[in-house]
Symmetry: C2
Subunit: 379 residues, 2 copies
Amino acid sequence: MKEYVAKYEDLYKIVKEMFIGIGYSDKQATAVTNSLVEADARHIHSHGTVMLPTYLGYIETTGCLKLDAPDPTVVHETPVSFVMDGHSGVGYVIAETAVKKCIKKAKESGICVAAVRYANHYGYAGHWSEMMADEGLIGITSTNTIRAVCPTRSAERFLGTNPIAVAIPTVGDEPRFLLDMATCVMAYGKICRSKVFAESGVLPDDIVVRPDGTTVTDFPEAIEVVAHGDTPDKIPVEPTGGIAPLGGTTELRSGYKGYGLAMLVELLTGGFSGGIPSKFIPYAGEGVCFFFMAIAPTVFGDPKAVLEHLKYIIEEYRKAQPISEDMPVLMPGDKERHYREEALKNGIVLSDDIVGKLRAVAQRVGKETEFEKVFTVKE
Amino acid sequence: MKEYVAKYEDLYKIVKEMFIGIGYSDKQATAVTNSLVEADARHIHSHGTVMLPTYLGYIETTGCLKLDAPDPTVVHETPVSFVMDGHSGVGYVIAETAVKKCIKKAKESGICVAAVRYANHYGYAGHWSEMMADEGLIGITSTNTIRAVCPTRSAERFLGTNPIAVAIPTVGDEPRFLLDMATCVMAYGKICRSKVFAESGVLPDDIVVRPDGTTVTDFPEAIEVVAHGDTPDKIPVEPTGGIAPLGGTTELRSGYKGYGLAMLVELLTGGFSGGIPSKFIPYAGEGVCFFFMAIAPTVFGDPKAVLEHLKYIIEEYRKAQPISEDMPVLMPGDKERHYREEALKNGIVLSDDIVGKLRAVAQRVGKETEFEKVFTVKE
């Protein structure tokens, strides 16, 4: 399959220009481009620049992503917390505003917890945890999402993919710990965009639940189920099926734990913010709610000693022997960091499909010449 | 199989007396009995009164549970946090001391986070989250444990079962949300004490990992692997195998997410407290570390409105239709609460095996007459 390569800074520049071309302000374009290009560099392509045409669709067809929304406002605040209303604006700007405030307050008070309502898609969750870790803080975030996942024992698509991301800084040459995981058994993008499943026509069992509650391994049918019956403004009356929680659908493999984590995210986000749950968030993502927490290492002692000890623990776990020498034991975050380093050195690789979608937007905003200069075909 | 029934208060009384009989102080006996009898009432028998003979073994054979340890001491404190040293005393007393302090500080500051080192087994994690929820707070806890679980891609038993428990209070007749989950695919007790697996001789695949990294379905062999090679004071030199993380061993079913959560717990507990990781905690549990967090609903707004909104979210998810009418969709905590209500009404049911083990202790401490009066054979 054809692939293209672009330098990080070139891709960043053209994507930001394209966002401005479709009506984003400089601030909005910067916030969203920061995240999307980073996602592509980390091979998290489901949350990468491919979202640009998606957002354009949201703006034009559903009107649920408002570029002229008022700035986010704080509706409640204490020395260790705040609740914010995003007024259905650009999720990335809302998240950035909240995270910066969270960082400031955690530096003052030791901890800050924040819940945000009426926001919009904020990309890959780890981006915001890392923004806190960049300031030397432990950074936690979560978001509810469009409805995609079925609770244990149900075929109703009531839960979001509901990621949880935690970044924990360390010191010296030990990179930070970065866990960034959806609470479902397989991410939406991993199912729908898998070449392996598409070519074989088979999805592993216990990943996708049919409307009648049985699970499906036929790939085209699974895709149909996952994409089925959702409209931007209505909850389907009948169960539509969806993705299984982490652990799958059975009690035996603890599917109820993934469901429990997803339900916890509903409470942390829509619950604490006074916002809406994933159940009521149609495919375009309007009304998504965020949760953030920043913790200063100083709350646990001398910060240098705390970070040194975290480093020690991680190093002890790095000593785990791999079963197979060609499959090294990884720490959460290692894989994405490795991809990122490679991308900074050799460029970001994008599929023909993604480049095609971006090209259509470039043509529309009159940037096709600049666009073509950014990409070379990968050998 | 023969089973016995005991009234909650009768079982409580005799168990507490037996703890005092083996040398626990009244305070120590109260703290441990509170948790063990509650666990049995909730059918969490792996963390119930069966632990009494286990703890007696720890005290007598390994000396790693010290009844005469100094009181826990605070080694670092801020308005929103503290770090505590448990001096290898009774885990339940250490946890109770920490949770009470956490509650007090969260009521004053809005949030309190605490890490505890050199503690010992604190029973089922949900007990401590609920103690915080009883005071109207969001209660979070985690603990590292004896080594039991293999990281993704490794057959080394480096991680604990590392539970995460979150209790979120609501209002009115909607009971609280209570998630209490080990981060491995199946709990140690569920594997070892399963009648179903023992009778069929077969364990489902991808639960237990052999020392060579393959997975095992032969039940006797699986038991041997899970119980293998551990000594109270030494880390095995060769990989011993162990339990797989939540999601199993494969990347396809996101086993790395369970591993990531387990690793997160290592950092929250041994990491933040300056204590030791599960890797260095042999079977008797000395040196286990705890993590606690209490959050007052006031940090998110008017507490009544916050709890009402949490109730609303939970009620919306209770509307999920079950696939099968005889398998209702549950909220985390429902099952245990149902068992508890039944136990308060009809008594706590214990297996012949557990009662036999308790009887041996009763005889030893000269309480056999009182002991026999507590139990009747279940019809």
